[in-house]
């Protein structure tokens, strides 16, 4: 409250004479800028910065939420290094991210090209977004029932086709691919929309020139569309990879980590340790590790795919 009042005070007296275009004027802008940034900034600090710092602190403690945190140094981290379930969760999450990102990006790129060149109707373009408008939990439960081994409609069709029923969620081999495909289905429309926006930003004259030079459709795609789309693709990849690493709700409402440990993804393992087993220090430590992994992955992507440079210049 006090911060708000402090910033708003100098704004009210209107400047009665024009100020020289110097440092003072810029300082005045800064104050107004801060005023406008303040609401977002307060939210960012209260809901992101403070919890993050507290999380880092808790990762060095033993804390069961009902008692007081007790400082244990790096004990949680050394225990995690020796925890097979942590390494398993990394492997499982990696498998999920790989399947999810490859499928999602390929399908979204295809959809975006179709939207750009074939499907110009707003209704069809809008329909592609439909799965994304559904809540994650609803989408997961919907597929959970449709793919059920005993009473699911999909397995009924599979049986009619003369094939053996598939335990989509129950078998260790299928559980992660199934969930990766479900989330691909849900997210590809949205990803396609982002790529589509990138496609529209490519000036039409470069295509005309390519046509004049006799480039084939595939050559145009490979030599013009992909390079010029790169900054957008990198952004999409960074965002979707981070999102994909954080898969939780689909797992939580369907397999809850099972069968055995086949879907115990890293976010679910954090939740299990912290909220189910009241080991908030250990859970926080894994969360900090995940934070570092994601920062590293994003950095590598930006650095090596040159996401902040455009070939259009």
């Amino acid at each position: 409250m006090t911060t708000l009042a402090k910033h708003s005070a100098p704004v009210s007296p209107a400047p009665d004479k024009p100020k020289p275009y110097g440092g003072l004027r810029r300082f005045g802008d800064l104050k107004i800028a801060l005023l406008f940034i303040a609401p977002a900034m307060i939210g960012f600090i209260v809901f992101y910065v403070v919890p993050t710092i507290r999380g880092v602190y808790l990762s060095f403690t033993e804390y069961n939420i009902l008692g007081d945190p007790e400082w244990v140094g790096v004990d949680n981290y050394t225990a995690i290094a020796k925890d097979p379930l942590f390494w398993n969760s990394l492997a499982v999450t990696g498998q999920y991210v790989f399947l999810n990102i490859v499928l999602q990006t390929a399908l979204a790129l295809g959809l975006a090209l179709l939207m750009h060149q074939v499907a110009k109707s707003t209704i069809i373009r809008g329909a592609l977004l439909m799965p994304y408008l559904m809540s994650n939990v609803i989408a997961a439960l919907l597929w959970f029932w449709m793919l059920d081994y005993q009473i699911g409609v999909v397995n009924q069709f599979i049986e009619w086709a003369g094939l053996p029923r598939v335990a989509f969620f129950g078998s260790e081999e299928w559980a992660i691919p199934t969930q990766a495909v479900i989330n691909t289905w849900r997210h590809m429309g949205y990803t396609a929309l982002l790529i589509f926006a990138g496609l529209q930003a490519i000036p039409g004259h470069v295509y005309e020139v390519a046509k004049l030079d006799g480039a084939s459709a595939f050559q145009t795609f490979r030599k013009i569309t992909i390079p010029l789309l790169r900054p957008v693709l990198v952004l999409v990849l960074v965002v979707t990879v981070i999102g994909s690493f954080q898969v939780f709700d689909t797992v939580a409402v369907t397999t809850a980590g099972g069968p055995v440990n086949a879907t115990r993804v890293i976010q679910y393992y954090i939740y299990q340790r912290a909220f189910t087993e009241s080991d908030f220090g250990y859970g926080s430590a894994i969360a900090v590790i995940l934070f570092l992994i994601l920062a590293l992955v994003a950095f590598i992507q930006m650095k090596f795919l040159k996401g902040n440079e455009s070939d259009l210049d």
Binding site: T2, T3, I45, V50, N64, I65, L66, G67, F144, W145, D148, Y149, Q150, I151, G152, R165, A167, F169, G170, S171, E172, T254, T255, G257, G258, P259, V260, N261, R264, Q272, R273, F275, T276, E277, S278, D279
Partner: protein, 446 residues
């Protein structure tokens, strides 16, 4: 920002200390008004709503607000309530959880009230009242109900297979060849071409009806899945109960039993674990996919409520030591240590544990109340509905029950044992792999 945070912290600390004081506020304040009460079983809500109405009629200055939350969210919401100060005054408590809650000082000890109000603890079924005395020797709840395990079976399928109800009542089991229990289960299994599980040419990969349904791997307790078998061999989960400090999943006797259990799925007499993710075991029974389901007494209403299926209930098999065995679990009502309505809450808990309320619960025929007299009334109420529940009550009468394993670290034990048991029951790992899981479990107690 730093200053603001400091102010917030001070305010929070003041609020905390205030709420801490309020536990000992004057009795006039804490003995009237509205108290909140939570439970997880929707089937029992009508019975307890009536108890609440009767209670308010007798104590017009106390109102009870009942909230029902599903089991899956119950405990995490409750924990959030403890931390956030919004937990219910009184809530249904579970044996597997209350040890940790008591240790973290979230539960109100009610010894003084029980002594002052002369609550007769001998009126409850044997052992139930003692379960709620913590490691510190203090009482944290009064018993409300109990449950045991029985075999629900599809009468038409048994008749079709020529298995009599007498045979079902006299089943035997051992971990070597499964006894008559395995014979019956095999005979009740039918493949898609109509061949029974004990006939030559039976196709175990194309089963239409399984002899025995499967609920899951059973994690640390195996309450309805395998404990009714494993514990007939003389094996028990922990070194002592309650408050054991050593688990016994490495015992060869136990591992032999689990090997046999996993073998049922391998032989095609029980569904594979991977096919049970999703639809509930009771529902697949109703869909005619299994002939026998081992399940708890709290499921009586659901099994006997399916239209078009005649259901019988048989006692669990007699084991190698000549006796049956069933896990005996009991719930109780506990009071949150942070309640502002201490006196009213105690009154409500005592009412819930009294014959007045437990008879009401008995009359609805959903669960067995903790009081002996009320248990008998519940059995009569079930009989009036045409359900013979002697398979469940027999365990208590003949003292063939063993307690739900009460220890510290139950959530962590479950976290370790769940994937380990799943691996064994699904046939992915031999039962001897449980030795390693057991070492992890016992390391929690060092």
């Amino acid at each position: 920002m730093k200053k603001t945070l400091g102010a917030v912290a001070v305010a929070a600390a003041v609020a905390l200390s205030l709420s801490a004081c309020s536990g000992s506020a004057s009795s006039a304040e804490s003995s009237k008004g509205e108290i909140s009460y939570w439970l997880w079983d929707a089937n029992q809500l009508p019975a307890y709503q009536q108890c609440a109405d009767d209670f308010t009629k007798a104590n017009p200055d106390i109102k009870v607000k009942i909230t029902q939350r599903g089991w899956d969210d119950y405990w995490s919401t409750l924990t959030n309530g403890f931390v956030g100060g919004t937990a219910p005054d009184v809530f249904t408590n579970h044996l597997g959880r209350y040890g940790e809650l008591a240790e973290n000082k979230q539960l109100l000890a009610i010894d003084d009230a029980v002594k002052k109000d002369n609550i007769d603890l001998t009126g409850y079924n044997e052992g139930l009242a003692d379960l709620w005395v913590g490691q510190d020797g203090k009482r944290y709840g009064l018993p409300k109900d109990w449950d045991t395990i029985g075999l629900f079976y599809n009468k038409a399928m048994l008749a079709g297979a020529g298995v009599t109800e007498d045979q079902m009542k006299n089943l035997t089991w051992n971990p070597e060849d499964g006894g008559t229990y395995e014979k019956v289960v095999a005979h009740l299994t039918v493949d898609k071409s109509g061949k029974r599980g004990d006939e030559p040419g039976f196709d175990k990969n194309n089963v239409a009806v399984y002899g025995l349904g499967l609920n899951g791997g059973g994690d640390s307790s195996g309450q309805t899945e395998w404990s009714y078998l494993t514990n007939t061999t003389g094996w028990s989960h922990t070194d002592k109960n309650p408050w054991g400090t050593h688990y016994n999943y490495d015992d060869p006797k136990f591992q032999e039993s689990m090997e046999w259990f996993a073998g049922l799925a391998e032989k095609g007499y029980m569904p594979k674990l991977e096919t049970t993710v999703g639809a509930a075991m009771a529902d697949t029974f109703a869909a005619g996919k299994s002939a026998i389901n081992a399940h708890g007494s709290w499921m009586i209403g659901q099994y006997t409520g399916y239209k078009g299926i005649e259901v019988g209930i048989a006692p669990t098999p007699v084991g190698p030591q000549g006796e049956r065995a069933s896990m005996f679990n009991g719930l109780a009502d506990s009071i949150w240590a942070g309640t502002k309505k201490k006196d009213a809450s105690i009154k409500w808990v005592e009412y819930l544990a009294s014959a007045d309320c437990q008879d009401v619960v008995a009359s609805k025929a959903v669960v067995f109340p903790a009081l002996k007299a009320s248990s008998d009334k519940a059995a009569e109420a079930f009989a009036a509905k045409g359900v013979d529940v002697s398979a469940f009550t027999e365990h208590v009468k003949n003292k063939t029950t063993f307690l739900y394993p009460i220890t510290d670290n139950t959530a962590k034990v479950k976290g370790i044992m769940e994937p380990a048991m799943d691996a064994v029951v699904s046939g992915k790992a031999p039962a001897s792999s449980l030795t390693q899981a057991n070492e992890q479990v016992n390391a929690l107690f060092k």
